[in-house]
């Protein structure tokens, strides 16, 4: 422990130089900027910057890449909160609660909550990475395909807590997402499914255009539908009460429990290779909603909702580095790129990295924490500017959002076919809104299905005819129990909600 602290302070000393600090500041600015534009993902920003870091000092290069990543994930919440255009699946939840606050004139509060939650989640996960990476990585190795199947089944049950108007509609949305995810060539068998001979369908539906189409564009369509409504009816001016545009200490304390729990969930999910930040955000949000005293507030401007989604989402950034650094296992495409950056500099991630490259690795760790600090300062400084975006006339904003969405869809593969996917899913996403299907559940189904299928295939191959192996893992039991509990509490919550609604209806009828 003392060693770690010594190394860590050594790291702080070496990162406190002009080069690394400049890199971090540049990375944070680039990340916030790209993250805030709906349609550009963090992975793209990193892939673009990667060649710049090939031949510079790894301390500068890698901290800069990570600064882009972290700031990019926070940046996504800015446009989600202000104009309800979430650029990533995880920001969808932030958009629900954050945009409700914006509509109530409390954009500043929502932005501040998202920022504090992001930074808290990241910083805590980074501390976990620095001090307890090794033991966590050993546990995460225990999770093989069989265990992951159970974990994924548990992840699917969070759909129950965000079904919107009715449970069947929520689950149906999720099933539709699963079905769409299975179009195209299967990476397991090489077989093409549901392509009907159309070669373009072989790659399946590209994720980013689908996501923008389902999550971002319906907001533009809503604006068009309500175009006759006068502007000032839609946008409430900034609330006069200064407390409405910041997070008070009391509020921060009231969500602190949620922050810790969500960071825990995010750290755990991040440490398991391959599950990703969206699953973490949805699980944390579902958990916060389940344990909340007033779950009906979620989706209507709950600070706890923002705190849960953002802290879990950002905790994944820190903890996904755990398997990458200690076991040289990249969990997702971002960590794969970062691992590439390490390898190109001749630093091989793995347990020996802590002995062979002590200086570099601890300098990078210190860089991670300093990135959080700069993110806090730089993002905070921009609040005044960003909140103005929410009050710009919609006939300036939404043409721009349309173009960003289309350019963003094009950039993923540089293919006009993806723009067509975007348009199709815009119509589809708006149709889902009309009939009460839930876009979040749809996206969960779409994201988790390939993981589920892959792990199920591996699990079946491993189990073979020896069925006792399924029951042998404690993980399996834990997650089965959690799934059952989650389904049960989702149903109970629905019943309670109905009773409450009925009670209020009765009351209003009596009053009338």
């Amino acid at each position: 422990m003392i060693d770690i602290l010594n190394n860590f302070f050594g790291g702080v000393a070496s990162v406190m130089a002009v080069g690394p600090i400049a890199g971090i500041i540049a990375g944070v600015c680039v990340g916030i900027f790209f993250g805030a534009i709906p349609g550009i993902s963090a992975i793209m920003a990193i892939a673009i910057i990667l060649p710049l870091t090939f031949y510079v000092d790894p301390i500068i290069g890698i901290t800069m890449l990570l600064a882009v990543y972290k700031a990019g994930i926070y940046g996504g919440s800015i446009s989600a909160i202000l104009i309800n255009t979430p650029g990533a699946a995880a920001s969808f939840l932030t958009a629900q609660d954050g945009h409700a606050l914006t509509k109530a004139g409390k954009a500043g509060k929502a932005l501040a909550m998202a920022l504090y939650a992001s930074v808290t989640g990241e910083a805590l996960a980074t501390l976990v990475l620095i001090f307890v990476a090794a033991p966590i990585s050993v546990i995460s190795l225990q999770a093989g395909p069989i265990e992951k199947v159970f974990l994924l089944i548990f992840a699917f049950t969070v759909v129950g807590s965000m079904t919107g108007e009715s449970i069947p509609r929520g689950i149906l949305s999720c099933c539709l997402g699963m079905l769409f995810a299975m179009v195209g060539m299967s990476s397991i068998t090489g077989a093409t499914r549901f392509t009907f001979g159309v070669p373009e369908l072989m790659s399946g539906f590209t994720f980013l255009p689908l996501l923008i189409g389902v999550l971002v564009m319906p907001e533009v369509i809503d604006a068009i539908k309500n175009r006759k409504m006068p502007h000032h009816d839609l946008v409430l001016s900034k609330s006069a009460n200064p407390d409405d545009n910041r997070v008070t200490w009391k509020e921060y304390r009231s969500v602190f429990g949620t922050l810790i729990k969500s960071t825990g969930i995010g750290t755990f999910i991040g440490a398991l290779p391959g599950l990703g930040s969206s699953a973490a955000a949805f699980l944390a949000y579902g958990e916060a909603k389940r344990t909340s005293k007033n779950p009906e507030e979620f989706g209507k401007g709950s600070l706890k909702g923002i705190a849960a989604a953002e802290s879990a989402n950002n905790a994944v950034c820190g903890s996904s580095m755990i398997p990458m650094l200690t076991l040289s296992i990249p969990g997702d495409d971002v960590t794969a790129l970062l691992m590439g950056a390490f390898l190109i500099h001749g630093i091989t991630p793995g347990p020996t990295i802590f002995y062979e490259h002590t200086d570099v690795i601890y300098a990078i760790f210190a860089g991670f924490l300093i990135t959080d600090l700069f993110l806090l300062i730089i993002a905070r400084a921009g609040f005044g500017f960003w909140t103005k975006i929410a009050s710009i006339q919609r006939y300036y904003i939404f043409p721009c959002v349309t173009v960003f969405a289309i350019a963003g869809a094009f950039t993923t593969n540089q293919d006009m076919y993806d723009v067509l996917i975007l348009i199709c899913f815009t119509v589809f996403g708006y149709g889902m809104r009309l009939v009460g299907l839930n876009p979040a559940a749809f996206i969960i189904g779409f994201i988790l299905t390939p993981l589920l299928e892959q792990n199920l295939d591996q699990a079946i191959a491993i189990v073979g005819t020896d069925y006792s192996m399924i029951a042998a893992s404690p993980f399996a039991w834990i997650f089965t129990a959690l799934s059952a509990f989650s389904v049960y509490s989702a149903m109970r919550m629905k019943k309670k909600g109905k009773k409450k609604a009925a009670a209020t209806q009765n009351a209003s009828e009596q009053a009338a």
Partner: protein, 315 residues
Amino acid sequence: MKKFAQSLLGITAAIAVTLTAGPALAEYPEKPINVIVPWGAGGDSDLTTRLWADAMEGILGGPVVVINKAGGGGVIGTTFVANSAKDGYTLINAGLSNVLVTPNFSKTPYDFGSFEPVVKLSSVPLGILVPADSPYKTFDDLIAAAKAGKVTQGSWGAASSGTVLANIIADQAGYTVKFVHGNTTAESMVALIGGHIDSAVSFPPAFGPHVKSGRARLLVLNQKMDEYPNVPTFADYGIKGSFEGWSGVFAPKGTPADVIQKLVTASTQAMEDPKVRQAFANMGANVDFRHGDAWVKDMLETYDIMKDAAAKMKQ
């Protein structure tokens, strides 16, 4: 008069060239060159291509842009390049899997013949690994166990290069294994060191760190490597054939020969750069720079082996 007509023709041609930025003439490259990587960002072929592209940019003096067009087991990006303009501005990161294996196993709209091979950049030898605490100390132990009962082997996709090569090896040595298909080489290494599978096939960029840290044991390798002096090769066990993954650059069929020649010359210069070679070595990939007819002939031989293997496996 004739002179005037000639110069007029020359001017018109020059204007036409600058306007359309079309077929490559002497000025190649006069617009960004796109290199499609048919895999996600961060894999070893992606990184080798990015290093190459970065070096090429300095030599050619114009942008060389790496685009990831992942999906469909590499088929999507490869098909895209097969169908794009034959002007040398759209190239593909080719490898064993997308140009030699997949056309034989899946229904692809392209084949090996749809491309003009440009250069081979690097190669990675295939190895077979077991977890450190495995009872199998040598490849013979593994063969014996696989002949006697169920041994699981990690690979990446049922129609992937890994599974096909592993099948050819198993076929020659006379054993069978139960394949567990991960998504990437890295994923099957996770399952291996977690003790969830008995063995795995993999390449040095993925297994190097694990062998180094002692969590996985390398039983056999395609060829002798300096890093693993005591590991026997497949040839030592009487298994014939070359089992290596490689990464190179192809252009669509019909790309002008002078454009290909320019790319080859620039690549030769790029791959001689010690900084680039060091970066390749750091990743665990051998610089295996080749171009020309002998290389194409070798690839065609491999193609036929894959064709036979596909016919056998599909039975």
